[in-house]
Symmetry: C2
Subunit: 307 residues, 2 copies
């Protein structure tokens, strides 16, 4: 079992989907990553920042899920990062209605002393310089995974390229992979991104699954076909949490084991979208997860004899 | 080894993609289906119609690929069905420029006597009443597979529903499945289509792969991630030919074997898009196909221990 450092937002979200609408609920990349990774009972720490308005029971919930929160700074006089968005009918696109950075505007991440020797680092979507600062605080991690988005490509590309050069795995969605690489073909896009530094690229295609690329290898995990997608918020972060949580648990960073990690990430993400926010993730039993993993096997495994 | 009856267009296509442009080349649903099915050395027959302008060497090529063409009517004084289309830059959408029905307008299909006892029937995209006529000429096939498209939903829905009620498997693309069922969720759409009669539904998602649905079963085959998609024309028909060809070869119509059939269809379709028209399919060796099937295994198979 390796230690896992998670950096990312811990936030309030207000979400509107065709199925309903929430007030301010628990959200943020590091929240979803941490809750997903906790399925693997890893020794994880969340590095983030919240305001004095952040409920103590949320902090306790993260701790109850096995997350060290000594690197989760609480600025009593500040307000927690707030995001509000509305999904379109197809659930694949959304409009951002509000982004209040609040305490996140001055976030200086501090990795707790006890976690500087962690083997696995998950850099959730944040300003590339914040991600870079976390890398610099680590001793010598074996696997650094970076998530990012088009916002940073548009506003901080030079910094983003510096971070990308230092990480092992980039997770990114299909449109962002195309933007970052200037290639339409996802195969070419992944190859180009790997030439920027990373050994592996995961391209997330939402309801169309995820592709994992290595040197000459490629692996595909479908999204579980669901009768209803209720709220996609956090699915990508949940995927990242399942991916890095599984890798930290097993300590095996080979391509073959990354395949398993991608499936575990996809399985957890398929639960995430079933309810608003992280609610569904928080009620999962080991049995639920095993059942879903068996469904993934039956969804993808076939038996053609090749003699 | 079961016999396979294929009905569909045999045609001329003129295609424009971002990579180039063709004059009138060999095309048509039954052409792609037949060439794909011939990979399995099945005893197949093509039921279709062409004009006097259809080159004799194309007929010979179909025969050389093991297809019986005694049900492929040649109307000497008529002209062959002609379709012309132009693909957009994303290759997922296209404009139809020309559709000249020509001899197809009066097509009355005639299943050759020797093939009326075939076990497998592949009804390529055509007017539902033509598809119905083929069903009525058959003795008692074990598996009838239907391909169709939105054009018939808009212009001949009542006839289409009659055919759908009589077939075992429907293959259809995602947007068409949504239109036919009135459901956005593909899981719900497939369930609704199965309630119209078929035991199985295959939903084709182009570059995003294909879903096979049964009673309580679902299986997913990705499209092979390619550096370049050169010309998508015929990929869906090639999929159908690989699917039915494999099922006819094995004579096993169970859900588990349909999984293998879906993978074989996807493998052949992944070759089809590599060159204009059926050119790539025509040069395939058994070794090429096995190699691609091995790539599909490595693309999708994982090894999570579930104890």
């Amino acid at each position: 079992m390796s230690k896992l450092v998670i950096v990312g937002t811990v936030a309030f979200d207000a979400i509107e989907t065709p199925f309903g609408k929430t007030d301010k609920i628990l959200g943020g990349a590091a929240t979803y990553i941490g809750i997903a990774a906790s399925q693997f009972n890893v020794d994880g720490a969340i590095v983030s920042i919240v305001g004095g308005d952040f409920p103590k029971e949320y902090l306790k919930m993260l701790e109850d899920n096995g997350m060290d929160i000594s690197g989760l700074e609480v600025v009593e006089e500040g307000k927690t990062f707030f995001w509000s968005g509305k999904y379109h009918n197809d659930m694949n696109t959304r409009d951002t209605l509000i982004t209040d950075l609040n305490v996140l505007a001055d976030f200086q991440p501090h990795v707790p002393e006890r976690y500087k020797n962690a083997e696995v680092v998950m850099l959730g979507n944040l300003h590339p310089l914040v991600q870079l600062s976390v890398i610099e605080q680590m001793d010598s991690p074996k696997l650094i995974v970076l998530d990012t988005m088009n916002f940073w490509m548009n506003s901080a590309l030079e910094d983003l390229m510096k971070v990308i050069a230092k990480v092992d795995v980039v997770t990114i969605n299909d449109e962002e992979a195309r933007q970052l690489s200037g290639e339409y073909s996802l195969v070419k896009a992944a190859q180009k991104i790997m030439r920027m530094g990373p050994k592996n690229v995961v391209i997330k295609k939402g309801e169309h699954g995820a592709l994992l690329f290595g040197d000459d290898d490629v692996f595909f995990a479908p999204a579980m076909p669901l009768r209803e997608v209720f709220d996609p918020t956090g699915a990508g972060d949940t995927f990242a949490g399942g991916f890095t949580g599984y890798l930290a648990k097993t300590g095996d960073y080979s391509f073959d084991n990354m395949k398993n990690a991608v499936i575990n990430g996809s399985a957890l993400a398929s639960f995430c979208v079933e309810k608003f926010g992280p609610d569904r993730l928080l009620e999962l039993s080991t049995k639920d997860v095993y059942h879903r993993l068996r469904q993934f096997k039956s969804l993808t495994q076939f038996d053609i004899k090749l003699t």
